[in-house]
Symmetry: C2
Subunit: 258 residues, 2 copies
């Protein structure tokens, strides 16, 4: 039996033009594809490629299945949107690996990075992540809401740009509003907020709003939200959306005045 392998692959934001050649090569080498059905649908069919589609929110079961296939000698690819290491499948695979059959530790397990949503959204808007920034998941499925708000308050007080993943879902309808209310206690009402939906896909929509307006904006599971720092700026343009960027510099005086 040939030794099996498992690669966790980042497909990027959706457009194949953002799929790295390394990720494409790993997909081409795979015998089994494991992942959430909408991500699997992005990978073209070919003879001999076996697909194992699963629902959302069964990440560890999906990871165990992938590891078992690899242990049986298959070349397995677990696919994620964006980067697999950012609120996606890579951590689930290592959770399953650590808790599972000790033999799984001898498998060749690799991760292929991808363009994560905040990088794609930032590129579309300008350079909003130009200073220090953080990425927080607003989902309280896996951590208590009070941990989320404590973290959010800390990074807002420290004046980081904040990228919010998983801002909202049908089961979590109020969390984004609560997070924006908290942001409004640390940032001025004109602070730029970017709502980037489905960047790199045909239904892409990018909105740049002032924080005071963002509270009333529509968002969904496919939306990535970026809340600017106190220094984040808009460059208005005639007949086009403004550029949004965060300068690289922080002035001592600006900091003291915060």
């Amino acid at each position: 039996m040939s030794p099996g392998s498992l690669t966790v692959i980042g497909l990027g934001p959706g457009d194949p033009r953002y799929l790295t050649p390394a990720a494409a090569a790993a997909l081409a080498a795979a015998q089994d594809l494991v992942g959430y059905a909408p991500y699997l649908a992005r990978v073209p069919e070919r003879p001999g490629l076996v697909r194992h589609a699963s629902d959302n929110r069964v990440e560890v079961e999906r990871a165990r299945h992938a590891l078992a296939l690899a242990a049986a000698g298959r070349r397995v690819a677990v696919v994620s949107g964006g980067d697999p290491g950012v609120f996606a499948m890579a951590a689930a695979v290592f959770e399953a690996l650590e808790a599972g059959d000790p033999a799984w530790r001898r498998l060749a397990v690799t991760v292929e990075p991808g363009i994560t949503a905040m990088l794609a959204a930032a590129a579309r808007a300008g350079a909003p992540l130009g200073g220090d920034f953080c990425a927080l998941s607003l989902s309280d499925n896996l951590k208590p809401w009070d941990v989320i708000t404590a973290r959010l308050a800390a990074v807002l007080a420290a004046d980081l740009v904040v990228a919010l993943y998983n801002p909202i879902s049908r089961a979590r309808p109020w969390q984004l509003g609560a997070a924006l209310d908290l942001a409004a206690r640390h940032r001025g009402p004109e602070t730029p907020v970017i709502l980037a939906r489905a960047v790199g896909r045909p239904d892409e929509a990018l909105r740049v709003l002032a924080l005071r307006e963002a509270r009333r904006a529509e968002a969904d599971m496919a939306t990535l939200v970026i809340v600017g720092a106190s220094t984040t700026r808009l460059i208005p343009r005639e007949g086009a959306a403004p550029f949004v960027y965060t300068p690289r510099s922080v002035a001592p005086a600006a900091e003291a005045a915060r």
Copy 2:
């Protein structure tokens, strides 16, 4: 005169296998390449491609030059390693654009995202960014050191994974040590620290150390440092480096005990 354009392109970590097709297409369409000399050297020569290499730490001058070329009708590509929006050229371009000729606001300016160093380093190590995380630049060339330490203390107290860009240079030899000392006041001595040097390049070197050992490790300008959260774990393996990952979950009890 044809209308000029400017694209800020992320080359990724170095290996062409991490260059996205979108970035490759933008490079192929460019007439003028502007950037720090080592990044320009990654782009193959071709007839008609004009190179404008510059030294490090002249980002805004470089950006102004690129915008002036575009305003003169050229198709200009500004190249950065990694992602251009993460501690790289995109913010400098928008700083120059805002401060410069108002006509520059009518130029077609776009940004092509890339695999930034922390994603490449994380993928090599496992999934250390599997929970909430932040990216901080340790360079005090553009912001006061007390802002850097205040931000670092805040994100450490909030138990985020911390990716440190620009950790050290000949002109800034002590900042990384000071940052690791600060980390040691918030994290246990066994907390995993990843020192990822030149990921995706022939001289790539990845080290996973305990925080208590990391203080004495060598690092340089090409190193990206990731300090784990309190929950970040190692999976030991026989005859191979351990996997490093941060579980997606935060338990209420673990948080209370922090």
